[in-house]
Amino acid sequence: MTGAASTTAVSGAQPEYTSDEMMSIAAARALENGKRCFVGIGLPSTAANVARRTHAPDLVLIYESGTLGSKPDVLPSSIGDGVLAETADAVIGVPEVFNYWLQPGRIDVGFLGAAQLDRFGNINTTVIGDDYTDPKVRLPGAGGAPEIAASCREVFVVVRQSARSFVDKVDFVTSVGHGSGKGDRERLGLPGAGPTLVITDLGVLRPDPETAELVLTQLHPGVEVEDVRAATGWDLQISPDLTRTEAPTAAELSTLRTLKEASR
């Protein structure tokens, strides 16, 4: 979405890095060691693999292609790369992934991307436009996301932020975040806590404990509140406890870049 932003170099006393690199590293930091993490391809997979090589060596990576505990030495290009199966603790069929491992709530963190995300963390990856049968843009669809969003103990969303993608209400609810607000997940009978963290190239948003509306709680270095407001399609609330993300360390950056380089 924000191709330009992704290559914006941020400079200072710290090593230079792009806003995409900041996003990946911020996402990696959010993953606690030892957690079981359901990983989609792209940004989530990058972040999870950085985490496993920095502070979270015992992070358990689960890919919907059927691998439990993959330990890839390069970034996979797809969720079904051979390296994921070859390095896994267990390789299983796809029905088993969803029925025996995801559905009963065995996964701590579901890591999702989004084409559209709304103020309550609902995710659209299906169609852009009001008419499902005649969409403006046909997106890939649901994949594993609806049940990942429902059943993981919590959900982290990693997505580049723009006013086009951060909307007041998604055109299509592919995966439920906090529905129409606080208490909606319970009403729907969704077992997991839903999106507890949205990590973008500008900062971090979290659901307000009272309303479940996403509020800005953290700014990446060099980003100002107004930048984030401008990249948000609703009247973004700012947490009174707004913090500033620590810039990537040289070690984090080198880990990320080595991984990316190895996957070319």
């Binding site: 391809i41 792209g42 919907e64 292609s65 059927g66 691998t67 290009s77 797809s78 969720i79 079904g80 790369d81 051979g82 994921l84 199966a85 070859e86 390789v91 069929g93 796809v94 029905p95 992934v97 969803f98 029925n99 995801l102 559905q103 299906t126 499902y132 049968t133 005649d134 969409p135 843009v137 046909r138 997106l139 890939p140 669809g141 649901a142 994949g143 594993g144 996301a145 609806p146 049940e147 429902a150 059943s151 299509f172 609810v173 592919t174 995966s175 439920v176 529905g179 909606d184 997940r185 729907l188 009978g189 969704l190 077992p191």
Partner: protein
């Protein structure tokens, strides 16, 4: 006892106009060569079923073989959109494409029900999403013990399922390993099945993680080395990531796609012979 046939004969005998056809393979072991053979034989009005209609179905849809797609995720994995799929949905090109859309969990369970001889499957799914509003094959069912309401999806029972596997023996016992996706379920759910394999061997040496389909559960086997390309067959080939990127340039434009079909499919050259390398993509 499964018949050992050529790819052309296997597709010719087992895939018929108007059939419900599932080509499965979850990133790994995607039966691309069989898909292109279906294009070559000019099949029409197919209902295509597949969890992840990636390049293999972009090709079939773009070639006008399909009237309907039943799926859960339609993209070019790791690259972006499927342009032929989008063009069909957004502009009915080359023919209108009806869609029936599920989640992975729903599709996987539909195959499981199909393989199990059950009319439906139950899952914790879809709740709160907009999918049930647009997909008639998602309903709700009440647990007779707890009163809880859960999602129900109908079995998928294709007329024919096609998969790619590493090996078969001469009796037609099929062996695959690595990521095995929903291929076993797709074959068992189907009326007929065709398995393309890297090689037909005298004896299937056991392999860790193997799934074996006995010969009496498979209709036909065709030896098609490289038949998964640009997908891969663990132990035989690597995923051709460059080809997935290259496909974006082919699929993006109708004329480029038409030229590709003419030169690379109808001329009888299979995907195995057409690598990204040759096109100068790497």
């Amino acid at each position: 006892m499964a018949d050992i046939v050529s790819l052309a004969d296997g597709v010719g005998e087992l895939v018929r106009d108007g059939d419900v056809v599932a080509l499965e393979g979850f990133t790994h072991l995607i039966p691309h060569a069989a898909g292109q053979e279906i294009i070559r034989q000019g099949r029409k009005d197919l209902t295509l079923v597949r969890m992840t209609p990636d390049i293999v179905y972009d090709q079939l849809i773009g070639a006008g073989c399909a009237r309907k797609l039943i799926f859960s995720w339609g993209g070019n994995p790791g690259v972006g959109s499927l342009h032929r799929f989008r063009d069909a949905v957004q502009h009915a090109w080359p023919v209108p494409l009806e869609i029936e859309e599920h989640s992975h969990a729903g599709m996987a369970n539909r195959y499981v029900a199909g393989a199990s001889g059950l009319p439906f499957a139950v899952l914790r799914g879809y709740r709160g999403t907009d999918l049930p509003e647009h997909t008639a094959t998602i309903k709700w069912i009440t647990c007779p013990f707890t009163g809880e309401e859960l999602a129900a999806v109908p079995a998928i029972n294709p007329d024919v399922s096609i998969i790619h596997a590493q090996r078969a023996d001469r009796a037609g016992n099929v062996q695959m390993w690595g990521l095995v996706g929903v291929q076993k379920e797709a074959v068992l759910a189907a009326e007929r099945s065709l398995v393309t394999v890297e090689e037909v061997v005298d004896e299937l040496e056991p392999v860790a993680g193997q799934v074996v389909l006995p010969h009496w559960a498979v209709t036909a086997v065709a030896e098609v080395p490289g038949g998964a390309h640009p997908s891969y067959a663990q132990g035989y080939s690597e995923r051709d990531n460059a080809y997935y990127k290259y496909w974006d340039s082919i699929g993006r434009d109708r004329d480029t796609f038409r030229t590709w079909v003419r030169d690379e499919v109808l001329a009888g050259r299979s995907a195995t012979e057409t690598t990204g390398d040759k096109e100068g993509v790497r």
